[in-house]
């Protein structure tokens, strides 16, 4: 089987399946092999789901042969971040003390993907406890540091490390990740793939590890914005098992979206402190976007986004992980800083948490007023390319490690998509993000597709 399958889009794989050029079983075997070799070499794999995958692939093959077509994901292999419960497979949360953990039920996203005919080929590596204990360097997972497919001396990003690097390396066509504060967009940017953080509540969190009930989101990492839209269409929807899910349905209908005449707000906050290649690639992207969009400089409303997010995350994570904290299991985590990270959150006063939630409300309103004027706000996804494995994040990225838009977007539950827009130092990708108002996934996907129709960065691969 030719290697071009490794980097084919979901639509292309689907076309080949329906043309009889390949089969669900052949695809499953191919990507199982890719995960077992390339994926493992990047520390991207926790569990290879061989039997599980072949069982699902056989069913998909029989159904497609019988003319029962479940849609664009039917027969397409994927990987799931190892914080999603899956019957019959361990779900480690990336944490050494939980390496044997299993759940007797499937996460809702796993169920929905199965219903769409997608084939789960592996549970993918992640930063232990989704980074909620405050890791400061790449070696913070039971599978070791996530390695970057473009340069294995660099980090993959996290906490959806395996999801980013496995997609980037062509070891799966798409993957599911989670984001509490940067965990989809960062690995997407660092690994040169597309990552979509949906609106809070768009995708059910049932069966996913809870780190922060009011910040956690699940979303896809894939080859293109179009692929992200196809996957989100399957994931989205109300779920009685997750009372925070939005009651409104969402479907991906790219044919109904505009393809030009977009209105974009351009956020240049911190641009002068970013790596030169990040700034240069951003300016080049704006030139491209200017051919199909009006651009207007904007600034974020003035709020302590990072501080509010850190208080909310710290308090909720300490509560969500109380069993691990009280029982002393944190001591067995990989990163030394994670072994004490949860304790500080237990000392956050309730009034501080509530103040953060009050500020959150004001900030959300102010952000919505800004975003209502645009299809999206555009800015670099990260200020730097992936850090070397040997460097602490703060030492490498300095004050711009966390951009205000990342804190603001997660605090307000806003959708965002990161797409590749070039390369920087050490041959590593840079990313461009489009952030929209709550519920505007269709708009940010349309802008991202427009950008990708005019550039070829998303078609590059290691």
């Amino acid at each position: 089987m030719s290697d071009d399958l490794a980097f084919a889009s979901i639509r292309e794989l689907g076309r080949r399946l329906r043309a009889g050029e390949t089969s669900p079983i052949a695809l499953a075997e191919y990507f199982l092999d890719r995960l077992d070799t390339v994926g493992r070499s990047l520390n991207a794999v926790v569990t290879l789901a061989r039997e599980h995958a072949l069982r699902e692939a056989r069913l998909a093959e029989e159904e497609l042969r019988a003319g029962y077509d479940r849609g664009p994901l039917h027969g397409i292999p994927y990987g799931a971040k190892d914080l999603l419960a899956t019957v019959g497979l361990p779900t480690t949360w990336g944490a050494a003390p939980l390496r044997e953990q299993e759940f007797p039920y499937d996460a809702t996203v796993i169920t929905r993907l199965r219903s769409a005919g997608a084939v789960l080929v592996g549970k993918l590596a992640m930063v232990e406890l989704a980074g909620g204990m405050g890791y400061q360097q790449p070696n913070a997972s039971l599978t070791g540091p996530g390695l970057n497919p473009w340069n294995p001396e660099a980090w993959s990003g996290g906490s959806s490390s395996g999801s980013g690097s496995a997609v980037g390396a062509g070891a799966v066509p798409f993957a599911i990740g989670s984001e509490t504060w940067g965990s989809i967009l960062t690995p997407a940017s660092y690994c040169g793939v597309c990552g979509l953080r949906p609106t809070y509540g768009r995708v059910s969190r049932h069966g996913a590890m809870a780190l922060s009930w009011t910040l956690d989101k699940l979303g896809p990492l894939a080859r293109s914005a179009d692929d992200c839209g196809l996957v989100l269409s399957t994931l989205a929807g109300a779920d009685p098992s997750d009372p925070t899910t939005l009651p409104v349905a969402w479907a991906y209908r790219p044919e109904q979206d505009r393809s030009s005449s977009f209105r974009l707000g351009v956020l240049r906050d911190g641009l002068d402190q970013m790596q030169p290649a990040v700034s240069a690639n951003f300016e080049a992207a704006l030139d491209t976007l200017a051919t199909s969009a009006s651009l207007e400089d904007v600034t974020l409303p003035d709020f302590p986004y990072g501080e509010a997010t850190s208080i909310i995350l710290g308090a909720e994570a300490a509560a969500a992980m109380a069993d691990l904290i009280e029982g002393g299991a944190l001591a067995a985590l990989t990163a030394p800083e994670d072994r004490v990270g949860g304790y500080a959150g237990t000392e956050i006063p309730a009034v501080d948490y509530l103040r953060a939630m009050r500020v959150r409300r004001l900030a959300g309103r102010a952000l919505d007023s800004l975003l209502a004027r645009y299809d999206a706000v555009v800015c670099p996804t990260t200020a730097v390319v992936a850090s070397p494995l040997t460097r602490r994040f703060d030492d490498y990225a300095g004050k711009v490690r966390r951009l205000a838009i990342g804190s603001a977007g997660n605090l307000a539950g806003l959708p965002a998509i990161s797409v590749p827009n070039g390369f920087g130092e050490r041959g590593l990708p840079t990313g461009l993000q489009f952030v929209g108002r709550a519920g505007s996934e269709a708009a940010i996907l349309a802008v991202a597709r427009c950008y990708q129709s005019r550039t070829g960065w998303h078609q590059r691969h290691p």
């Binding site: 501080e307 004490v340 304790y343 959150g345 000392e347 956050i348 009050r358 409300r361």
Partner: protein, 76 residues
Amino acid sequence: MATAIPGDASGRTDQLVQVRLAALQARYPGRFDADGLERLRQQLRRSVEAAAALRRVALSNADEPEPIFHAQPREE
């Protein structure tokens, strides 16, 4: 009336960090070595400073938190 509470003087931050650190040591005796205590001190400082930054945002009595509770019929 909206009120913004002034930020902390650094001495007060140190005191708050120390109080919280002592509380953690009392709740979890013997769990932290010197390195762990120093990491903990840094993390506690960040959350004390974050809370101080939040107190600089003017809030009125009418400014409610993002909803974290909804009364609704429940199926038992």
